[in-house]
Amino acid sequence: MSYVTKSPWIIHYDGSSCNGCDIEVLACLTPMYDVERFGIINTGNPKHADIFLVTGSVNEQNINVVKQIYEQMPEPKVVVAIGICATSGGIFKECYNIMGGIDTVIPVDVYVPGCAARPEAIIDGVVKGLGVLAEKRASMDKRIGVIPAAPEAAKEAAAEVKEKEEA
């Protein structure tokens, strides 16, 4: 059994979000939702984190920041893109400085659509991320390296969301 799923520590980074999704992420820590029930701690330190929560899309200025945080996190690690901005660029997609979703820079494992994503959805996304985390941990044991891409289901969901967006 892997202990990674019992004590996922998160780091939260605000890309170029409107702050709506950030407030919802922080709401998860309040007495109302209390994610510490699941052992989740908001660390603020990439070296201690297992799950990377990104809100907002990537812009020209923060590409390196996102990459650095991701690279500083020790394996096994999971990236959860929160809100439609982080998934595909959302309402900011057409802006001159926006690259698009987080997956244009680092591999994303779970997409949580919504504008803003509800705390329940965020918790669901993190719990889904735990499955991926366990898988990655298992593959570390087998020394076959880490699965870089998102699981198929999550990818399909994201693709659907993107289609709807474009429609």
């Binding site: 202990y3 004590s7 209390d34 029930r37 070296k47 201690h48 394996e75």
Partner: protein
Amino acid sequence: MNLTTAIIGIAAYLILAPIAGGLLAGIDRKISARMQGRFGPPILQPFYDFFKLLEKEPITVNKVQDFYVMCFLIFIVITGCFFFAGGDLLLIIFSLTLASIFLVVAAFSSNSPYAQIGAERELLQMMAYEPMVLLTAIGFYIVNGSFNIYDIVSSDVMAIQYLPGIFLGFVFILTIKLRKSPFDLSMSHHAHQELVKGLTTEFSGKTMAVIEIAHWYENIFLLGFVYLFFVNSLSWSPVLAVIICLVTYFIEILIDNNYARMKWQIAINASWIVAITLGFVNLLVLYFMR
């Protein structure tokens, strides 16, 4: 002091302290959560965290840092072993200081600004609590005529009767040692971070796990100090002492949840003033009364 009790003490400490320390940390988190109106993590959460940290990919900034962190653990354990074997109080205080210094050096060696400021603050904290710890040892010496823990435990007097001021002073600096608000300046266990993670910013995976377990050993040893104030040759006194230890820890949790973090100047001033008023005056009174 005979050899068998010493060996039993050491063995019990080596095996039971991490278990008790981890449980205490879990209960701490649960009670803190309840005080904040939350449900809180399972009691065993610190153990899950510990085993998770062991599972993570090792990333170290440089090779020496792991060595220093390991020394921190080893000297904390040695300190505790001296204590529970009934050794010399002064020796215990010196090896405790040495252990803390290793942690500071480990943080300095990582070259990260957060860790370095954390290390500087840790040094300031040591300056803040050392005088009171020394006064505590002197107090025990005046009451029992010996620095030896075994003599203190088996004497007929209960130290608290003569050392109420020193006890209160010790509980005050215990807040610093247990890394509780308002004095968790160099690193914090809470969601509201200080200097990212202060001292431990650059440590991850196994190194972090070693620090965690060292803290558990350290906390149990510190509560042992509280225990020492209430224990004497009577058979019921250990029970009383353990209860007082738990109550003290609960009060520390209460303080932790009620105060915001203070500046380091206040930490130093407050703990020195407490050491002088409560500790030193207690010693003076004791000196002239006996």
